[in-house]
């Protein structure tokens, strides 16, 4: 009989068998990678805002305390985006006719809220509480990064559950002295391991088992 296949098909056939498996594996890896990529998590993606509010300027240069605007952060689940009133407290005097602040003034005049674009977003079924983290000595920058250097705020971490768990499994790494909580430039000292343990003990940080129970964050 005549050959049905040319000699080259031997290689082609074997190669395609291997590449089939290879590509399948590659596909899986790609999916897993995309799920963790900034495309999905929006990590490090800068968001335009109706008013180009610069945390770098207000926090970094002017040194305004976080709590001046985010008043709820120590008492409530949500830190809270400030009402237009808060802006006007200063900007009725400062830059009170600057063009780029017009939306603020308009909002104040018309009593229509400004619609900010949300930067840090957790799924709706996650119940994160700012106050307990702050009260237990987890600093702002631990999650939000160095806000004081962000002209426009972006999400500094993935905010994936995996990322939350890293800290809930060993909180020591993130515990600071109470007076450092709002310090954006805080960096863990060399002996953070011991300090963290000590702080965790005196602040009755709960056990990993408790901190990683589903109902700690999901209701």
């Amino acid at each position: 009989m005549a050959q049905i296949f040319h000699r080259s098909t031997n290689f082609i056939a074997r190669f395609s068998v291997f590449s089939a498996f290879f590509l399948a594996g590659l596909g899986v890896i790609v999916v897993l990678a995309v799920a963790r990529s900034p495309y999905m998590t929006r990590q490090n993606v800068v968001r335009e805002q109706p008013v180009q509010f610069s945390h770098k300027h207000h926090v970094g240069d002017d040194g305004i305390d976080c709590r001046y605007c985010h008043a709820g952060v120590e008492t409530s689940a949500v830190a809270g985006v400030p009402p237009t009133k808060t802006c006007m407290n200063c900007h009725s005097i400062l830059f009170n006719n600057a063009e780029y602040l017009e939306p603020i003034r308009e909002s104040y005049r018309t009593d229509k809220s400004i619609e900010w674009n949300k930067v840090h977003r957790l799924a709706d079924f996650v119940y994160f509480n700012h106050s307990i983290h702050v009260n237990k000595g987890v600093g702002c920058s631990s999650c939000h990064g160095q806000i004081n250097q962000m002209p426009l705020v972006f999400q500094a971490n993935t905010l994936l559950m995996q990322w939350c768990l890293d800290c809930h499994r060993n909180p020591e790494q993130a515990l600071r002295p109470k007076d450092q909580v709002f310090n954006m430039d805080w960096t863990p000292p060399a002996d953070q391991a011991q300090i963290g343990k000590k702080l965790a003990a005196e602040r009755n940080i709960r056990t990993t088992a408790e901190l990683t129970s589903c109902s700690t964050c999901h209701r």
Binding site: V78, G80, D111, S113, K118, R121, D124, R203, E210, H218
Partner: protein, 1060 residues
Amino acid sequence: MRENEHHEHKANQHDHHDPAEDLSLPERPLDLAEVRANLQSKSGKQYWRTLEELSEDPNFTEMLHREFPRQAPSEWDESVDRRDFLKLMAASLAFAGLSGCGRTPEQHIVPYVKQPDGLVLGKPQYYATAMPFGADAIGLLVESHEGRPTKIEGNPDHPSSLGATNVFAQASILNLYDPDRAQTATQYGEIRTWSQFLDAAQSLAAAFKATQGEGFRILTGTITSPTLAAQIQSLLTVYPLAKWHQWEPAVSDGAREGAKLAFGNYVNTVYRPENAEVILSLDSDFLGSGPGHIRYAREFSHRRKLDQFAEDRRIGDEMNRLYVVEPTPSVTGASADHRLPLRASEIQLFARALASKLGLGGSPALPPNAEKFLNAVAKNLQRFPRNSLVIAGEHQPAEVHALVHAINAALGNVGTTLYYTGPVEAHPVNHIESLRQLCADIEANKVDTLLILGVNPVYTAPHDFDFASKIGFNEKTKSKKVRTTIHVSSHFDETSELCDWHVAESHYLETWGDARCFDGTVSVVQPLIAPLYHTHSHREVLAAFSDQPGVTDYDALRDRLKAANPSADFEKFWRKTLHDGVVAGSPFAPINVSPKFDPASLPAVKVGSPNEIEFIFRPDPCVYDGRFANNGWLQELPKPVTKLTWDNAALVSPKTAEQLDLAHNVAWRGGEHGKIYSNVVDISLSNSKVTAAAWILPGQADGVVVLPLGYGRKRAGYTGTNKGFNAYVVRTSDALWAATASSNAVKRTGEDYPLACTQYHFNMEGRQILATGTLEEYRKNPNFANKHAEAPPPELSLYKGEKEYPYEKMQNRWAMAIDLNSCNGCNACVIACQSENNIAVVGKDQVMRGREMHWIRIDRYYKAESPTNDPSTYNESLDNPETFFQPVPCQQCENAPCEQVCPVGATVHSAEGLNDMTYNRCVGTRYCSNNCPYKVRRFNFLRFQDWETPQFKLLRNPEVTVRSRGVMEKCTYCVQRISNARIEAEKLNQPIADGAIVTACEQACPTQAIVFGNANDKNSRVAKLREQQRNYSILAELNARPRTTYLAAVRNPNPELEKT
């Protein structure tokens, strides 16, 4: 899965000035601004239906026929129209592929412009207010999130609440957000602005000035609000010839007239059940309904707790004893130690016989079979002079009430177990006579302008009055008997249809006001939110006819309080009053009255002959007189005793059913849990007819047919219209509460009607589920509840009793104890849970498929030895079976069978021993539910939640995930409350105090039957209860080791009646 809205969304409900703002939520189906524009432009006569329709919003037509109607989604349909089908099919293929991955869309933060003082974003606030209800007002604390009231709780400082609530109070929050509420004033169905109404009212007022208000009539329900009453009185003084009529369809005149008969004037009776050793209820449901019932239930339960809380023991630790004589089973009858079913008309005989036994004279004639009971009761009452109590039923005639006054006086109970005060009603009158007079005057063309406040007489008035014809437009004569009719109500209902004007009524959470409760205490009604729509209060409407229409409710209330309480610092007084919710020192002082009448003087009572059938009318335990008909929560709430939902039915006793040849058919589909087919009967009564489904109810008096009021609404709204049958149709003014007719008044039509019943099987098949015993048994062996079933020893485990989870060492070990001796099945916990946990309403069809979503259900068991367990096959044990209730939430088993079988670990144990349910991890295999011995898990078989209707977005509790289609859900001990309490405690580095966490069901429970707490804290209430020997767990032999345990029910029967 998209679950609850973000707090940012909520953040845009700011200070509620413009109703449009309140609804300016994303993806709202209609634009109110547009609507309003439309409304103004509309002119010319056209029949007015709803705001949405006017908005000519294309979505609206779709919304009208959308498959998931709000409140009651009936997503089910086997017949699908083709276009829709193909569209969806196409969508689904894409869906099937894409879903799961993909980014969430952009979200926005919408902060306040000027944040209200004292408001902290994300922190709920609580305000004291009160819900006026008939001749009572229930004091409430209402939870508010960024200006949205979301949850109603009892006000501990309020005498009629003591921190508890009832189903109506709990569910009233849903009325506030009911999308079917009337949203603006209308005239002849056309939109009118408030100012247009004011003009009309003022021109009328001007006319009245001339005629002294002749022909001006006001029709209201029972009014206890001093401010509102003052407003009416001022009108009546301005217009001396105007008249005020009252009509409360579900409240009998018996009590009022009885008092008059006994004391010569209207007197209000307040009971103190906690001081009573023996209580006899003559057809009174004092634990389940009527003024003060929440408090009465609490006081009654104090005497049933046995050795629960030492400090709660009042007079000794003797358990009290309750006798109930009633025609149809009520929650009070179910809690009785001895219960005697008698026809309603025979109750009076019993009362007279009792009176004569106590030496008050009168005829000792007695219904057969009651002799023994009477003797025992009489003896028992006499054994406790001053510490016994006899209570006459709301729906009993004046004679019975008078007799009972006399009996209590004779027993010397006045002052200890009850006392008298002046009337709570602002203006007590005989309602039926008042309404009768109004109708007569209309017939006599004496009525020129009729102002109807709140009530719905076209639906509720006795049919012999034919109220519709009184106010309606007569096609033949082309005329109207009343020139101007004005109706004020929350919904555009049967009466509104026939009235010229309709003014949308504000919800009590939207208005300032006040109200007296059962003991006279004045509570302040404080608004939680500005009116969502263009609605107004009764007082504002009345004020429109006065010479200062502008006065706000707020000012009116403050002025009246100032006048009534001249105190140095009024602002201080005012703030305290708002904080407490009650006006200090306002309760009525007891008054001294003594009955001056001779029972013997009473005319002989005529009782229907035994072969006649007695029809009695009762307000429905869920929709009351019909005012809650459009409330999905209450419609889907299983009625305490029958466990029926979404329908009323003509209730008959098993024996009567046998005589009338009525039966149930446990349908192949649904069956015990869901759909029961029942015979349909035609009831011809007082030359009118109604067609009803019959329901066989064990424990009902033979020869009695109960016709529950409140159903068969023609115009209630999406949820309430055309549900059940309308009993008012056969109700006449001379037989408001009981009518007799020959047995052929009931005729089977031969048809069957499917009823949605959540529990049909009524016995326990000898399993250790609901442990009961008598006081004697309890004294002999306090541990009787556990004698049947113990948990097997851990060594039997394949895992050699490994103990990796030292719950005992944990700081918190959450547990719940439920005292079956206190629970009277009132259902308050069920609605509280539904409100707290965003539980969906699924609709009758789904209930019939056994898919209701209540996280806590109340099982009702009979002690009956029926071989078939089917009430529709007669067996004498069903004549008067002992009835028990058992609330069943998730048992939070330590060896939870559900957890082991979940393939994805969506339900696992928390370190503190909660059986966590993580909705967003659930893939919906339903294996956990199959493996749950207690069947407390609920599954979203379809998309039960209503995501579209904007009002419901305001309603939801932001602390709880809103579950979407395809996931399992269940009770979590209100884990959101646990978390919040824990967070607050941890901020202070303190342990969580006992009582700092109160679950929704525990909070609502009038009898404190449910206690939640930390079992590791030896001093916590729950720990003490778990130490009690009555404490047992359901089906302990399964070794699931539930955290929810029960205290066995102990009854205190009278030995005399026990023997034989």
